[in-house]
Symmetry: C2
Subunit: 313 residues, 2 copies
């Protein structure tokens, strides 16, 4: 019986979460701890992009090409909002909107994010062996310090198209936050911990910034594996390379996998980055080379390799 | 040059507003003062049903059969919300949702309801001679006292299908509210005031409950006309007859037109209610008999009759 904890941001986490769930044995359990640093309030709605992306992938409804939102989605509401002169920079599909309306209504009733997430997971028919936990029920908001001033994450990424030069990050609210129910317990009980190929600055660090998480990870008895979010110095998605370089780091898998300070036993690299192996070895990490294109059968192969009790390398 | 002020609730007001707007001469102006007593917060959204119904009719986008919402509307978001187990009792169409999202966003930015309404009116391309004013920028909420306890208006009407016996009404917040900018000035400058065939308890009285409105109406120099919301003891729409009877009144046009205490010079009755004429005469009102089915050409005829400087009767 394996108890797997996956630390996940948005797309990278979602693309790994679904194949991991498929690879579970009958007695296995998968707990996905999800970043809430890019959650925001928009149009009055409580939006949790990473939780939604992971959930939509888990239940098979995700638009996997686009990387966000639901398949076969229509955008009539957004088009109408644009016609009214409203802020339409954050794309919200008609069916996706129901998730935000549900969450907003339940929040207004006092339900914590973890409870709402569990309700959505159940309503979407996700496998009962899989749990989805926001890292915290309290707001943690990634703020991006840029040459255009400090920006809320979604303003930086979506509204302004990640065009501003990054100088640093702040995780507002993290100091006062605490782990959501079950998070620390899951980490302590895990047979293995997996860090998804997510952006260290805006997906992993906002989780480690919640008091108690980093300590739980450091004390965890399970094996800790991380997948590089870079393949051949390119991010699969998002502005990670620009962030690394703006902060004075090379665009390498080593820089990406160590930036968050998440202690790792195993680093999964794409063969394109095999030349980086000595850096990891020097830092006490074992490298597993595996094609990291998380699509279809290749993603399932990565998931099975991760769940193998005797890891190669 | 006519300066017309129309006091409007939802459907009754909307069905009169559009033909009145069509009947305006080049120099005429129409100000529609709209009830906000059935506004509510739902799913995190700021919803103003009467303002929206009037606006949608004015811009020709209303679903005039149904009486609410937009024509050619789809309901994918609502269906998805229902599938998630969320509260789906208040029907929200996909395009209609954009109006609520726009209003909610602007409210969160601090814009008053009257400003937001003006923006929506402009965005929808309404004739520049027509103004739409919420009676107040402050919240006024119609609360219905029933044998099942006090209910917020939308809970009474939509969620519970108006099945509870009514004992009375309260207009929460009215005492602290003040008229929105332009309302009192429009009333004072009006050449005529028209009360739409709206429910007196839940459309007209919540407006008169805002301090300053009843006094402005009483002091207005313009002729005051009211259209009966009943035709042959039946309401065109809604639970007015049950309300009148529950409060000990007969289901008559006289009861309906006098229940709100709005002072009238002219009462417009459908010929089906011609027998009530003596009651109005005894109360000092002149009766105009006119078919009050506010559809198509008949509605335009009513509007033209209302705007005639020399009223018959």
């Amino acid at each position: 019986m394996r108890r797997v904890v996956l630390f996940a941001g948005g797309v990278g986490g979602a693309r790994l979460a679904a194949p991991l769930a498929r690879a579970l044995g009958p007695e296995d359990e998968l707990t996905i701890v999800v970043n809430v640093g890019d959650d925001f309030e928009h149009l009055g709605l409580a939006i949790s992009p990473d939780l939604d992306t992971v959930l939509y992938h888990l239940c098979g409804l995700a638009d996997t090409e686009r990387g966000w939102g639901l398949r076969d989605e229509s955008f009539g509401t957004l088009e109408e909002l644009r016609a009214l002169g409203g802020p339409a920079w954050f794309a919200l599909g008609n069916r996706d909107l129901a998730t935000h309306l549900y969450r907003t209504q339940r929040r207004s009733e006092g339900a914590p994010l973890s409870t709402i997430t569990a309700e959505l997971v159940r309503a979407r028919g996700v496998d009962a062996r899989v749990r989805l936990l926001p890292v915290s029920d309290a707001p943690v908001r990634t703020m991006v310090d840029t040459d255009a001033g400090e920006l809320a994450f979604q303003s930086y990424l979506v509204e302004r198209g990640a065009r501003d030069r990054v100088r640093g990050f702040r995780y507002a609210g993290a100091d006062e936050a605490s782990p959501a129910p079950g998070v620390v317990e899951s980490i302590a009980a895990a047979t293995q911990l997996i860090v998804a190929p997510s952006n260290p600055y805006v997906s992993i660090l906002p989780m480690l910034a919640v008091p108690g998480i980093a300590r739980a990870v450091a004390a965890a008895p399970g094996l800790r594996s991380g997948l590089s979010p870079l393949i051949g110095a390119r991010a699969v998605k998002g502005p990670l390379v620009a962030m690394l370089e703006a902060l004075g780091h090379p665009a390498t898998s080593f820089a990406a996998l160590t930036a968050a300070g998440f202690p790792l036993d195993f680093a999964y690299l794409d063969p394109a980055d095999a030349h980086e192996t000595p850096h990891f070895a020097a830092a006490g990490m074992r490298v597993v080379l595996f094609p990291l294109v998380l699509r279809d059968a290749a993603a399932d192969a990565v998931a099975r390799a991760l769940l193998e009790p005797a890891l190669p390398g």
